[in-house]
């Protein structure tokens, strides 16, 4: 494999060896990479890191519950055209003027290879991934209005993230390379924190990690804190000027780590 095109992580994203492997497999096989994992393990960040590390443009398609596959391809603005036609504006007979590319269309028509992030694909309707099978396979689609076929000039690198809220259809899965981001262990977490904070006091870091993994281990938490929360927490601890000794006894700013009142109560109860 050409080293220039291989993903190696980036300066503020620590990727595990397995993750890098999966990314490079997906790139080499030209298949979408499906990323799953606990919330806050950096699924979305990954695409940014790949884009930075390979120096390619990133196009993000955020999926909502109302998103339809068609939205990603193109939108034909019929209403605008109708409106224009009533006032006899120029160019009404040019349908192409009213066809606007969606994110997928944008990625296909880019001159250079881009990274396309389809974020949280499980948010959409159950059938959504199925509607994109052909487009992602062949990297092309047809616009009946203009009788045009939009074909990718350079196959984009497609990253798909999912929070497993919905089961994805088999046909879609079969076309993907799959990677599950495991929750980082203490050593990896240290590395991740190092990337985000310069000159963090060693003692503070140790205390933070110890307390953090202890809290994650507390039975019956409704939402376990994750990487993004621990980063915020460290920020809060630094700004609040907390002494390392106090961290595991009092768990200051617990609200940054735990997002539910019940969880904060649970943790406080175990502290006493």
């Amino acid at each position: 494999m050409n080293m220039n095109t291989a993903f190696q992580g980036s300066e503020n994203y620590v990727a595990s060896a397995e993750l890098m492997r999966s990314v490079n497999i997906a790139i080499a096989l030209q298949k979408p990479l499906l990323i799953k994992g606990e919330p806050g393990t950096g699924k979305t960040m990954l695409a940014e890191a790949i884009s930075k590390s390979l120096g390619k443009k990133l196009i993000i398609w955020n999926i909502k519950s109302t998103t339809k596959a068609q939205d990603g391809l193109y939108v034909y603005d019929v209403v605008q055209r109708l409106y224009d036609s009533q006032f006899g504006n120029e160019g009404v007979d040019d349908i192409g003027k009213y066809v606007k590319m969606g994110k997928l269309g944008e990625a296909f028509s880019a001159d250079e290879q881009v990274i396309l992030l389809i974020d949280e694909i499980d948010k959409a309707d159950l059938e959504f991934p199925n509607d994109l099978l052909w487009e992602l396979d062949k990297m092309e689609f047809y616009i009946p209005e203009t009788k045009e076929t939009v074909k990718a000039k350079q196959r984009p690198i497609v990253i798909v993230t999912s929070n497993a809220e919905k089961e994805l259809p088999d046909a879609f899965l079969r076309r993907c390379i799959f990677h599950y981001i495991e929750f980082p262990d203490a050593d990896q977490m240290k590395e991740i924190i190092d990337v985000h904070f310069d000159n963090l006091e060693e003692k503070l870091l140790d205390q933070v990690l110890e307390t953090f993994y202890w809290i994650r281990g507390v039975y019956n938490l409704q939402k376990k804190p994750s990487t993004s929360e621990v980063l915020d927490w460290i920020q809060a601890l630094i700004l609040g000027g907390m002494k390392p000794e106090d961290i595991d006894k009092k768990v200051p700013f617990a609200g940054v780590l735990l997002k539910k009142n019940e969880d904060i109560d649970t943790v406080k109860r175990y502290l006493k």
């Binding site: 497999i25 997906a26 096989l29 799953k36 497993a164 809220e165 079969r174 799959f178 599950y180």
Partner: protein, 398 residues
């Protein structure tokens, strides 16, 4: 020979398709495993397995297949060579069936045969099914594909791929584990049937249709309405509560919450009973008399479209199920519990039974009511995989 791995995976319940297999071969051709065995493991996993719930099954199958590989991180040459130029492989194809037969031979026999074979073998031999050598499906040698046997030669060193696979750290994700609330919720999402063919007025403004019609009509406005698309699934949940079910109360409350939070049902009705359904059921799990509902009321008022889920361990004193005289919590009548349950089955074509408990091992008297109910209903154990099967069953038109 390598295809045996494909069939082993499928045999172990990982639904690898031919497409994925071809992708794997393509990836190997491109050298994406970086000629290391660990790389090979991750490559296989990321291309062939599409859910973390299947990682454990995959690890198991991988170990099973490759456990007699030489203990080295390098991918054995013969595998690579074969993959690169499969035509050039000397001799006939490996007889994987024969390799699998080796699995049945016990260790003492293997040792005995090994000594005999050493006596008889006079030359180097690679890739067969009998002699000591590398590759092949023989019981002896290294790098072979026999599931059991004696390793001859081969270096010590890092067995990284095996270490990873043998940690089996994705065991918790297996779908046949029992469940938490979120998993229930996810499972219940399967119960949906979107339809715009419901008996409702065309009330939803259809923008696309309106625009289309208006355009077709040369720009003069033509408004179109459509029926709303809604989930039409109605669910009736009947849960056993108290007594022998206390043991499973956490599981059942999770199931209840899962169903309750899956707010996409058109209607969800939940009732509780103790042991078996008789003439009365209750709206709270404590079965308080003021929350009583006549079972007849349910049968009369909830139409047969309801999909019925009964949750219970199906274990009780046989007379509680089979005899009419049983004094069932304030309701004395001449109808047996089984008869009540059959009435439900007759009325509701979509009905399943979820059982948090397995059939009693000791059988006999203890298993009697279990067996009767198991015969009568589609009964599923309360694990994610089985729940999904049960829900699928509910969705199928009989």
């Amino acid at each position: 020979m390598f295809t045996a791995f494909f069939y082993l995976l499928r045999g172990r319940g990982i639904h690898v398709s031919l497409n994925e297999w071809m992708s794997l071969l393509e990836a190997l051709e491109k050298g994406l495993h970086g000629s290391s065995f660990t790389g090979f493991y991750y490559l296989c996993r990321s291309v062939l397995v599409k859910s973390e719930t299947e990682f454990d099954k995959f690890d198991g199958a991988f170990l099973e297949f490759f456990k007699d590989m030489p203990p080295t991180d390098e991918l054995p040459k013969e595998l690579l060579e074969w993959l690169e130029k499969p035509k050039d492989k000397p001799g006939e194809e490996f007889d994987m069936e024969r390799a699998m037969q080796n699995d049945l031979i016990d260790q003492i026999d293997i040792q005995k045969k090994f000594l005999e074979t050493l006596e008889a073998q006079k030359e180097e031999h690679n890739g067969g099914s009998r002699w000591v050598g590398t590759g092949g499906v023989s019981l002896y040698g290294n790098s072979g594909f026999s599931p059991r046997g004696i390793r001859v030669g081969g270096e010590g060193g890092g067995r990284r791929a095996f270490q990873v696979a043998s940690e089996r750290k994705f065991r918790d994700f297996r779908e046949d584990n029992t469940l938490d609330i979120r998993q229930y919720q996810m499972a219940f999402r399967k119960l949906r049937e979107f339809s715009s063919r419901i008996d409702e007025a065309r009330t939803e403004f259809d923008i696309d249709g309106t625009i289309q019609e208006t355009c077709d009509n040369a720009g003069s406005l033509q408004i179109v309405y459509d029926k709303p698309r809604k989930n039409t699934v109605k669910v009736l949940l009947l849960m056993d509560s108290g007594g022998s079910m206390d043991f499973y109360s956490r599981m059942c409350s999770a199931l209840f919450q899962g169903a309750n939070k899956a707010n996409h049902f058109k209607d969800l009705q939940v009732f509780y009973f103790h042991n078996c359904i008789y003439s009365k059921v209750y709206t709270d799990p404590l079965l308080r008399p003021r929350n009583v509902v006549p079972t007849e009321w349910i049968l009369r008022n909830l139409s047969s479209e309801y999909k019925v889920i009964i949750v219970g361990d199906a274990q009780m004193e046989p007379s509680e199920l089979l005899e009419p005289s049983y004094y069932n919590y304030g309701a004395r009548d001449e109808v047996t519990g089984l008869e009540w349950l059959k009435r439900f089955k007759d009325k509701y074509p979509h009905i399943v039974w979820l059982n948090p408990s397995a059939r009693p091992l000791y059988g006999g008297w203890w298993a009697k009511t279990y067996d009767v109910l198991h015969n009568e209903f589609d009964m599923y154990p309360l694990t994610l995989e089985e729940l999904q099967k049960a829900l699928k069953k509910l969705m199928v038109n009989k």
